[in-house]
Amino acid sequence: MNLWITAFVYGLSMSGVLFLVSVGISIGFGLMRIVNMEQMVYYTFGAYMAYTIVTATGSFFLGIVAAITVAAALGVIVETQLLRRVYEREMMFTMVVTFSVFLIGIGIIQYIWGLDPKPIASPMETMIQVARVKVPLYRLLIFGAAILIYAGIQLLLNRTIMGKAIRAGIENPNNVKGLGINIYKIFTIMFVIASGIAGLGGALYAPLIMVGPYMGWDMLLFAFITVILGGLGSIKGTMVSALILGQVMALGGTLWAPLAFIAPFMVMFLVILVKPTGLFGVRGVAFGFQS
């Protein structure tokens, strides 16, 4: 029983990371109608920045700030220099372009930090008591951060005038353009927010794993599973599916170790084949699906 509680907490932290990392992909799908695979570059850069700053100064908070800043800055560069040229193109084109940006990011990381995985000292060792089991507080904090970000995004979308424009853009971008709103400016702002969040996800997840250039690869697939299970363009769906997938990975892994890696793929397989719109799909017919 104790084992399962530990696994549950582990799953919560995993859900937090999955949510932070896949917000950008969800927004990209819903608002900009692109498949932005290069989100994982910001995630990896965030983790590496956390590593560099933590080893240099010892302060994890500074590491997180640096991770968000660098990831957001990269987001600005990529969005304004490259993605602007591909918004109107077909999905296949954007997919290959963002994928190659992802590869370039991996290459740059290898140049700067080398190939070998880097460890980060855990920022806090505090354990807290949950139902007679001691669990690390840090994992719960990751989940708390994800919840905060989720609440923030919901506030932005539902309570501000910009959020209204964004939601309208998800419904129909051409109408929004017709109303005289500069939708490309909104794209840039949302993209920067998303890449910053991905960087935060990388920095928060870094102490739990080894930071390596290829850490984005597996996370890329997991993030896409999260987005597709949740339904394209739905932030709420992304949160719910992150919760489900985190538990699938944690509890499945407790049951039989290899399941931690493979169970999400099986979920993805089933979801795409059985219900491609996902749990909270915005539209009746999902992107790219044709009966």
């Binding site: 190659s100 370039i104 290459g107 140049y111 896409f224 993805m268 699906f289």
Partner: protein
């Protein structure tokens, strides 16, 4: 009649050139073999990407199906490499037949991602689930199990080279025939406007399915040849990372053309060979090349050669059919 000769002549010239270069550069023989094998793999992806317009991030899975079928057959069941090769291709066709109906309903990103998931599951199955058979990460060695076949003892690299060349010629001729046939035209038409195809009364589902099976069969043929070439297979063959390589090679050569895959594989493996002397990992180079090709050079190498030669030929006559097709 003229087009039939052309169908065979092009592949014949290409294979002849490869054979000549094998004697010009004797040290590069295994490299040329590898290019031909990889070209088959790229040709499979080209059917999906270039003709049908479907991106797949899981082509290595189909490659590993062929490779593992041949490897397991040679290591445990039989000794005949030709039978292993045929079995590998049959396995690829079966995979295409079984997975096709559920996969090809998906378009765009979904098709790409379900293949990526399939790839991850495939690596897991071969590495963990079937560990007793495939020996996990160590890989399966079977070079000593291969027996001599009549006419051509393909265990020797120089004979294997000719064996690959023969297969490459046959496949390329068939590919070129497909390109000029109704099937090839309907593939291309599907990429441009599927709804119109359906309106005209074509069974688009079946066309797509045939394309999927062809792609899967070509990939597994390439995988089988790869296994025979190295005498050893391990799970890293089917890893997701390799999906990027084949996509880049397809783009580089010129997607949707007959000879594009060959030039793509030549250029890609050549660049890889050159770059890896200075850099151990070359994702950076691959990514930059893809971006350049996507934005500035979308026809690829073969497309570039073709339009250049077309421009020269146009002076003394009518434009080629190919030019007309490109303007769609």
């Amino acid at each position: 009649m003229n087009s039939k000769i052309k169908t065979v002549l092009g592949p014949l010239v290409l294979v002849a050139l490869l054979t000549i270069s094998r004697y010009l550069f004797p040290y590069k023989m295994t490299f040329i073999t590898e290019i031909a094998i990889y070209a088959l793999f790229v040709m499979g992806n080209n059917i999906l990407y270039g003709y049908l317009g479907m991106v797949s991030f899981g082509q290595p899975f189909y490659l590993s199906i062929g490779a593992w079928t041949s490897a397991i057959f040679l290591a445990y069941l039989g000794h005949n490499p030709i039978a292993a090769l045929l079995l590998g291709v049959v396995a690829g066709v079966i995979v295409g037949l079984v997975l096709g109906p559920s996969f090809i309903r998906l378009r765009g990103d979904y098709f790409a991602l379900i293949n990526a998931a399939l790839c991850a599951i495939g690596v897991f199955v071969f590495e963990k689930l079937l560990m007793g058979v495939t020996r996990g990460e160590d890989g399966l060695w079977f070079r000593t199990e291969m027996s001599r076949v009549r006419l051509l003892d393909i265990r020797l690299p120089q004979n294997f080279f000719f064996f690959v060349m023969i297969i490459f010629f046959i496949v390329l001729a068939l590919y070129s025939h497909m390109n000029n046939s109704v099937l090839g035209s309907s593939f291309k038409a599907m990429k441009v406007n599927e709804r119109k195809m359906r309106f005209l009364g074509f069974d688009t589902f079946r066309i797509r399915w045939i394309g999927f099976i062809l792609a899967s069969a070509l990939s597994s043929l390439s995988g089988s040849l790869y296994a025979l070439n190295f005498g050893f297979v391990n799970p890293s063959l089917g890893e997701n990372h390799r999906a990027a390589d084949v996509l880049v090679a397809t783009l580089l050569g010129g997607s949707g053309t007959v000879y594009g895959p060959f030039f793509g594989s030549l250029a890609f493996l050549g660049i890889k060979d050159l770059v890896s002397r200075w850099i151990t990992r070359w994702e950076l180079v691959v990514g930059i090349i893809t971006l350049i090709v996507m934005f500035r050079f979308s026809k690829g190498i073969w497309g570039g050669i073709h339009s250049l030669s077309g421009r020269i030929l146009k002076r003394n006559g009518k434009p080629t059919v190919q030019d007309g097709r490109r303007q769609i």
